[in-house]
């Protein structure tokens, strides 16, 4: 069969451009399997009283974290500042002003949200991050090269870096107690320790139903929104609140998985290594041209 040069070029261009941007717009992360059995935790912030038991339990179970004396978790002065997760803590409790009733401040616990379509997994160039079947997004320090792309990619700004450690720094974030408890059939340490039972561990689909029922039964108590149900494609940790989520420092994110924006660009640049080859070819061409020109002169 005779193929005209022109037709061949057309077809080739079309095919490779398809390959460049993905045939149907799907990305690596969105192709991850999300099973209906996946675990999650529902956090009802209206119940939290700010006792910091979860912080204490987290510090006790995660031996990687710097040790803190048990008494230090009774210190309430930490609430004066808005804290973030850092290399020394996978979870923090913050206190917020309650505009509905100034006498009753709102407390909220934060940790990795364990996204269904995690941006850190997508951004990591060495595969140090992975999402397990039960929903935990975990980190393998042996693979990590310390590029900190994960920190830039995370829409919740969760991963923290051990800047103080010069030789073997690690990226630190909540593990969902994957190795320490989940695989042994136990619930995460913070969930277990909470005296007010702010957190409920269970199947994510069940938790959404539970949360919806709570909003329906007590419409005055909650804002009608489950944070994490749809944000960035869904997260394993779900939140209920009595005050608008923006007042609790929750970012207003879209409902599309975060990697959906970054991957097409990130992958296109290195697709089949063609673009870099192109760059080298162009540079080589220029060199060759200049050399020839010089030789002619």
């Amino acid at each position: 069969m005779h193929v005209k040069r022109r037709t061949f070029l057309k077809q080739a261009t079309g095919l490779s451009s398809l390959a460049l941007f993905g045939k149907d717009g799907t990305t690596e992360a969105s192709r991850l399997q999300v099973s209906s059995d996946q675990s999650g935790v529902l956090v009802d912030t209206t119940l939290c009283v700010g006792c910091r038991s979860c912080e204490k339990a987290c510090n006790e179970i995660n031996e990687d974290l710097p040790r803190k004396p048990a008494g230090s978790f009774k210190d309430e002065s930490v609430f004066e500042n808005r804290r973030r997760m850092d290399y020394g803590a996978y979870t923090v409790v913050n206190r917020y002003k309650n505009d509905n009733d100034l006498q009753k401040p709102v407390y909220a616990k934060f940790q990795c949200m364990h996204c269904l379509y995690p941006a850190c997994v997508s951004a990591c160039i060495v595969g140090a991050f992975s999402r397990e079947a039960n929903g935990a997004v975990i980190y393998d320090p042996w693979k990590c090269i310390g590029c900190r792309y994960c920190m830039a990619a995370c829409p919740f700004q969760v991963p923290a870096y051990e800047f103080s450690n010069v030789l073997t720094p690690q990226v630190r974030k909540c593990t969902f107690c994957f190795d320490t408890r989940l695989t042994k059939g136990k619930v995460p340490a913070c969930v277990q320790s909470c005296p007010m039972e702010v957190m409920t561990f269970g199947k994510r689909t069940d938790l959404i139903k539970q949360a919806q029922a709570k909003i329906k039964t007590f419409p005055d108590r909650y804002v009608p929104h489950i944070y994490g149900e749809k944000e960035v494609g869904g997260t394993a940790w779900l939140y209920l609140s009595g005050i608008p989520f923006t007042a609790l420092d929750f970012p207003h994110l879209g409902y599309h998985p975060a990697p959906g924006y970054t991957e097409p660009i990130q992958h296109a640049i290195f697709k089949w290594f063609l673009p870099p080859l192109g760059v080298y070819a162009a540079l080589g061409g220029i060199m060759w041209y200049l050399k020839n020109k010089k030789a002619q002169e």
Binding site: L20, V49, M196, E197, F245, I269, K271, P275
Partner: protein
């Protein structure tokens, strides 16, 4: 090849971005002024904090109480070129006391003030209106400056003070009323619910989805609070004006004729809040001339009792509590004290016995139930709903849980108040089937059977536990004491003092159900242990809290909602959990 070019261009773009970014950071770190600016701002903020503090202390000072009226008139001016003018009325009124209101306001044919501004107001166009304001204000200021008097500003920026917050505009979608509950932070955007808003609007009747977004007013704080015309103020007027209702209220010509025919005097029910067919006293344009003119006239006539003239004296923002108004007589309204609300003889539910007088005592103004008129519910809220009653049927008007106007809705609000919320916050709100009979008794006699709950020792003379201990966390803490008898006694007293509770807490053991929530307990019944249902291990498929969660949610939840003192109802850990002396316990073991 095309792909490669695309990728090349992309790479180029990214490269440029990085270049620019890098340049930006080096610039700011190299150039001193950039950093200096930030420092300056911080210092300024601190200064403000310090200067504001003494201000807050001098609340008695007249000038600090004064609130601004924002001159922005959104209908006429729409987008403002400059910040709205913060106008201090009382400051002007006090300075121009000698000249009187004539200085700024014109009078009508009856020689009464029309409280509009300026005197020569020209509303023909945006510019004309703007100019009339400018002439009115600056003209006077100029005149006084020429006369060598102390006066207000003459240049633009002095009145139109630039404050960023006034330019903030919010765009919110107009949603059907029943979606209003969704209007939290995350539902400002159509996209939150509709994947394709344009199509949804098109389907709804060929609408442009962008038309659902309205421009909200700039955020203007500090304006005067609304006047709450409560029983107290009404009573004051009543006494001073010797019950001349017609001075403020209006009676429809039709009703007046009817009354004249019957030879009756008008009663409260006939007086409307309107001053004529169209204008209501609740509107500022009507209320200001009506109220202030009357107050001014009385002042001119040197009457002993006269009303306030300055903004701050009416718009006090004071919400008198029921306790404060306990001695204030309620308006006499020729309404029977006790009525049986029964719309139809053969209605499915029995009639509701209603004590109007008791409800008057529990409200601050008639409007809390009667909206803008003083008519009975069924006149507007008909059985099938009418336009006058906003389509709300009579049954809904009485029973709608989410409405503050309905019987049930108001009772629900009461239940969430201090003293009640301790138990009720854990209970499902709304209509409970078993409770229909409590209201629908069909007989006026039911109003007399308000029950006082028996004291706990009368009810359980033998087996009422005095005090018990919870030692679930015995490894870490000493046992937590539960003053059982004291708690039951206190709750019984609270219930007996509350009228609403004394009607609805029917069973003798209602109070027990606050904690023993399996239902009112019976006298010789063994009470179920908490740990029977609330196990120590969380069962994933059950929503029941574990024992630890149940104790804390019950105890701490109640303490938080009851509004008691920290000593009485501790809310921090140490209040219930006394630290265990670990050394001592180890010594004991040995």
């Amino acid at each position: 090849m095309k792909n490669t070019w695309t990728a090349l261009i992309l790479m180029g773009c990214i490269g440029i971005c990085f270049f620019l970014l890098g340049r930006g950071t080096t610039l700011s770190s190299e150039e001193g002024p950039g950093e200096g600016l930030i420092e300056e701002v911080i210092i300024e903020e601190e200064d403000i904090e310090i200067t504001r503090q003494p201000d807050a202390v001098q609340t008695g000072n007249e000038e600090s109480v004064e609130r601004a009226i924002f001159i922005s008139i959104p209908d006429a001016f729409e987008d403002l070129d400059r910040a709205p003018v913060k106008f201090y009325h009382d400051k002007h009124a006090l300075a121009l006391e000698k000249e009187g209101c004539e200085k700024c306001h014109s009078r009508d044919e009856e020689n009464k003030f029309l409280f509009t501004f300026p005197k020569e107001r020209d509303e023909s166009s945006r510019d004309a209106l703007m100019n009339s304001y400018h002439d009115g204000c600056i003209g006077c200021h100029q005149e006084m400056t020429d006369g060598g008097e102390k006066t207000g500003p003459l240049t633009c920026g002095e009145c139109h003070v630039i404050e960023e917050s006034y330019h903030k505009k919010e765009y919110l979608p107009i949603m059907p009323e029943y979606y209003e509950v969704l209007r939290d932070t995350y539902h400002k955007d159509c996209l939150a619910c509709h994947q394709d808003p344009a199509k949804a609007a098109e389907d709804a009747g060929g609408l442009d989805w962008k038309s659902f977004y309205v421009k909200e007013q700039p955020l203007l704080e500090e304006t005067w609070p609304e006047v709450l015309f409560d029983y107290y103020i009404h009573d004051k007027h009543d006494k001073t004006l010797e019950e001349k209702c017609e001075l403020c209220h209006y009676i429809s010509p039709k009703r007046e004729k009817e009354l004249a025919d019957e030879g009756k005097e008008p009663t409260c029910k006939d007086w409307l809040r309107e001053i004529d067919e169209e204008q209501s006293l609740t509107e500022r344009e009507t209320a200001h001339p009506r109220c202030i003119n009357c107050h001014l006239e009385r002042k001119d006539a040197n009457e002993e009792k006269t009303g306030p003239i300055y903004c701050k004296d009416c718009h006090t923002g004071i919400e008198r509590t029921l306790e404060e108004m306990a001695d204030v007589p309620r308006p006499e309204c020729e309404q029977e004290e006790k009525i049986l609300i029964q719309i139809e003889e053969d209605a499915r539910a029995k009639g509701v016995a209603f004590n109007h007088k008791a409800h008057q005592e529990k409200t601050r103004s008639c409007q809390e139930c009667h909206h803008e008129t003083l008519r009975s519910c069924k006149e507007c809220h008909t059985l099938t709903g009418s336009d006058e009653g906003d389509g709300i049927t009579l049954a809904e008007a009485y029973h709608e849980v989410s409405s503050p106007w309905s019987c049930i809705g108001c009772h629900e609000t009461e239940k969430q108040k201090e003293n009640c919320a301790g138990c009720h916050h854990l209970m499902e709100s709304g209509l409970v089937e078993s409770a229909c009979d409590t209201c629908h008794t069909g007989s006026l006699d039911s109003l007399d059977v308000a029950k006082k709950l028996p004291q706990p020792e009368e009810l359980f003379p033998e087996d009422l536990k005095d005090e018990l201990e919870i030692n679930m966390l015995e490894n870490e803490y000493k046992p937590s004491p539960v003053l059982h008898k004291q708690i039951v006694k206190k709750l019984t007293d609270i219930s007996n003092e509350n009228t609403l509770a004394s009607y609805f807490h029917v069973e003798e053991t209602t109070i027990c159900a606050g904690c023993h929530h399996l239902g009112p307990i019976e006298k010789n019944q063994t009470i179920a242990q908490c740990s029977t249902c609330h196990t120590t291990r969380k069962e994933p498929e059950r929503e029941t809290p574990t024992l630890l969660g149940a104790y804390h949610q019950q105890c701490l939840g109640c303490h938080k909602h009851m509004g008691g003192t920290e000593e009485e109802m501790p809310q921090d850990c140490a209040g219930c959990h006394k630290e265990k002396d670990l050394n001592q316990t180890e010594a004991e073991k040995q």
